[in-house]
Amino acid sequence: MGGYSASFIFGFIWSVIKSSDFWAMTIRMTTPLLFAALGSCIAAKSGIFNMSIDGLINSTAFISVICDGFVRKWVIGGRKKADVGEEVYNAIRNRANTAGWIAGIVGAMVFGILLELLFAYFVIDLKANASLTGIGANLLITGLAPFLSLVITGNRANTNTWYDLGYVPVVNIPVIKDIPILSTLLSGHYILTYICVACVFIVNALLFKTAMGLRIRAVGENPNAAESVGIDVRKVQYQASLLCGLFGSMGGTFMSLCYVGFWVRNISAGRGFIGLAASTLGQANPIATTIYAYVFGWFDALGINMRALSLFPSQFLSMLPYFATLVGLILYSISLQNKIKKAKAMQ
């Protein structure tokens, strides 16, 4: 194979896999997938197959950058370094940066919730086909984001030149940051990555420990049963859609403000769908879904790391996460079929 021996290739892959940087990258690459997957989990539990999740990532990525940029500009308010002195200026800048990324998250959440409520309205009230509506919503965003980008920033393809790169703080965990391997692995990630991990437990608690979660699960599984004890099925599904937008939107924020630094067209590159697939594989259980999301993120990171070895064309490495998702979906369906077969054989 192109002058490389098989043992060399495996040796290389091994050297990649055993480096803690690679695992840290896996954690980073999984963050947006996981947000999308968690959002899908909640929607799926309420009985809505949320095809619009990829559009959610694409749009909220853009909205985050815009909110971030405007808020930073507003906080700095035209003050220049020369006028106020370096120290004061830096203090203001820091404040502006912090206000910026928080505004980015909040703005994205608001937009994400609106988008999901719109989707929910079509699917729940207008009885539209969820797949077709989802496709429509995703296409809507592929038009809307560049449109707004051009109107606001003057560039339709990205926001690279519009304003400074996103600033989301990196968190160094006190004790862990001094331990050799753990520091690369667990410390020094963007704050959103930690929020994401926290969200896994929040969503899990929400679904399994609260009354709302109980109702969401009941509505998704047997709406008639929920209705017979006086639960408003429609209301619960809207609540679930709202939560889906809330959690999913942070995936978009991570993509633009953390991963890329700015917004580019089709920034999600299908990550929303991969997240949706993860939640399907995890049967909408947040913990299981998280594991699958990490598997897909692992392939994403592997593909990127393997580029260093110019043996495989980069394009084929880019296919890895999609391929893994496809194979995962097929394996899942096979196991599901076997389960049904077994259940039948039991009779």
Partner: protein
């Protein structure tokens, strides 16, 4: 003197399509009794209970609970008045635990007001479970529960919400005899405190005898009698239930059966939950006869129809049409053996409601040579001509052949189905509830068509929950009870309806030799 806890006085319910489900029905239930509500399928029992539970609004009549006249608009209000319903199809969420299902919609919260209080949930469940001596494991998931446990949960769900009047809709349909006995002990316990009252809906008369204090009989949407259970025999009840008013009389000559077309041999079918729905069933249908299948619904009629039409695989035995086994054959191959089929579920299987009348009529034959041009394309001219002819022949009231089927009335939709199924020159027609829920005119038309087809020498297998229909149209009748053939009546015209009722309701049973006569040659 017993105190009247519930009075439903002169309840009338007319559905939007004009069907009168209840007409001046009166039901009076005393406190602390188990009151049976009996009647055959379609007699209006379920509608009456839906009215009581607030799912349907009556057009007339009043409901009095504990001496106060009440208006019940939805299930929540019904629950507030102390009415609880135990649905035949359990209203439970399989992946949730028993305790979670119990408290759904009234969940206890922890002190922080955020989280569910699981301990409290379990405590509430255990408390109510102990109080009424219906023992369930609150931590078990519903999907892991036995049917009996699910039923207990369903009853407890009503009790935990403070129900004093419990409606049990055919609760024993899913139980074995031993489980049924156990349930009866529990129900008797429940009313022993004098606080609770049970309305027990059932077809099974020996159960009514074993359990209930008084009974009310519904027939064709009217209350036709009430009695103390102790004063009547099962045969008496059966006579009250199935006494009929002949609405439609069909003129027909005696049948002249010829060779066998459909042969069902040792057919055994288990449903998806492993329950045996048909057990070693044997019968045959001959050319020139209409064999009626009577029986309380849920005794395997649906499975029988699905198996013959190829929509369901069967476990043991064989089905032969014109001496060819249909095992492993596709729906189309079975149809090509000379089979046609009116499905009981008209809107799901009978038609594609958004497709045109024309396409619905052509659905089973569009691929045949006579409807194709030389080039293998659909010959619309010929198709249109045939469709127009069928529309005329079967009196389908439609403006054009291109009208969407969903725009037609129920009777006309069924005529579209019949136009397709009767015109494919079949040897055997399976008519499954052919006139359910349609107007009298269409009903008469379809029944006469069935008889006409018989006279042409076709074989007809008629499955119907409508006793009038079975008795009027059939030449011979088999009765399904307990998932087996309980009786074979060779000459249906000699059968009295009360006798049929006794076979259907399990009061009487023929011997194996008598039943075996249904297999000809």
């Amino acid at each position: 003197m017993a105190q009247e806890v519930l009075l439903m006085d002169k309840i009338t319910k007319v559905y939007a399509n004009g069907f009168v489900a209840n007409q001046d029905v009166t039901l009076s239930v005393n406190k602390g009794e188990i009151h049976a509500l009996v009647g055959e399928n379609g007699a209006g029992k379920t509608t009456l209970m839906k009215v009581l539970f607030g799912i349907e609004q009556p057009e007339g009549g009043r409901i009095v609970i504990d001496g106060k006249e009440v208006q019940i608009h939805n299930p929540l209000e019904a629950i507030q008045y102390g009415v609880g319903m135990v649905h035949q199809h359990f209203m439970q969420v399989p992946s949730l635990t028993v305790a979670e299902n119990m408290v759904l919609g009234m969940e206890p919260k922890s002190k922080s007001k955020i989280f569910l209080d699981k301990a409290e949930m379990i405590r509430m469940t255990e408390e109510v479970s102990k109080k009424y001596n219906l023992i369930v494991d609150p931590t078990l998931k519903i999907e892991d529960c036995s049917v009996v446990a699910k039923q207990k949960v369903e009853i407890l769900k009503a009790l935990i919400r403070g129900a004093k009047i419990l409606i049990l809709d055919e609760p024993t349909a899913v139980l074995t005899p031993q489980e049924t006995d156990e349930l009866f002990v529990e129900l008797k316990n429940l009313v022993a405190d004098g606080e609770h009252t049970i309305v027990f809906i059932s077809h099974k008369l020996h159960e009514v005898k074993a359990l209930c204090d008084r009974l009310t009989v519904l027939r064709l949407g009217k209350s036709v009698g009430k009695a103390n259970v102790a004063d009547v025999t099962e045969a008496d009840i059966s006579r009250m239930m199935v006494g009929r008013d002949v609405i439609l009389e069909i003129d027909k000559e005696p049948a002249q059966p010829k060779e066998t077309v459909l042969k069902v041999e040792h057919l055994t079918i288990h449903n998806d939950f492993g329950k045996t729905m048909l057990n070693d069933v044997n019968f045959s249908v001959r050319k020139g006869e209409i064999l009626g299948v009577a029986g309380v619904e849920g005794n395997g009629q649906m499975e029988l129809a699905e198996a013959i039409s190829g929509l369901r695989t069967f476990n043991h035995g064989d089905i032969k049409i014109n001496n060819t086994s249909i095992k492993g054959k596709t729906v189309r191959q079975i149809r090509e053996l000379g089979f046609s089929h009116i499905n009981e579920d008209r809107m799901t299987y009978g038609v594609a409601d958004k497709a045109s009348v024309k396409n619905n009529i052509m659905a089973d034959r569009y691929y045949k040579k006579e409807y194709l041009t030389r080039h293998g394309l659909l010959d619309h001219k010929k198709i249109d001509a045939e469709v127009d002819e069928l529309i005329k022949k079967f009196l389908v009231k439609t403006e054009t052949r291109d009208e969407q089927v969903k725009m037609l009335s129920g009777g006309n939709i069924q005529k579209v189905v019949v136009a397709r199924e009767f015109s494919s020159d079949p040897d055997i027609i399976l008519a499954d509830q052919p006139t359910r829920g349609i107007d009298v005119g269409a009903t008469e038309f379809i029944r006469n068509q069935l008889v006409a087809l018989r006279d042409e020498g076709k074989a007809v297998l008629l499955i119907s929950a409508d006793l009038n229909e079975v008795l009027e149209v059939s030449d011979s009748i088999i009765v399904l009870n307990n998932n087996e053939i309980a009786a074979y009546i060779e000459d249906a015209s000699k059968l009295e309806e009360y006798e049929l009722g006794e076979y259907m309701l399990g009061v009487k049973q023929m011997t194996a030799e008598e039943v075996a006569k249904v297999v000809h040659d």
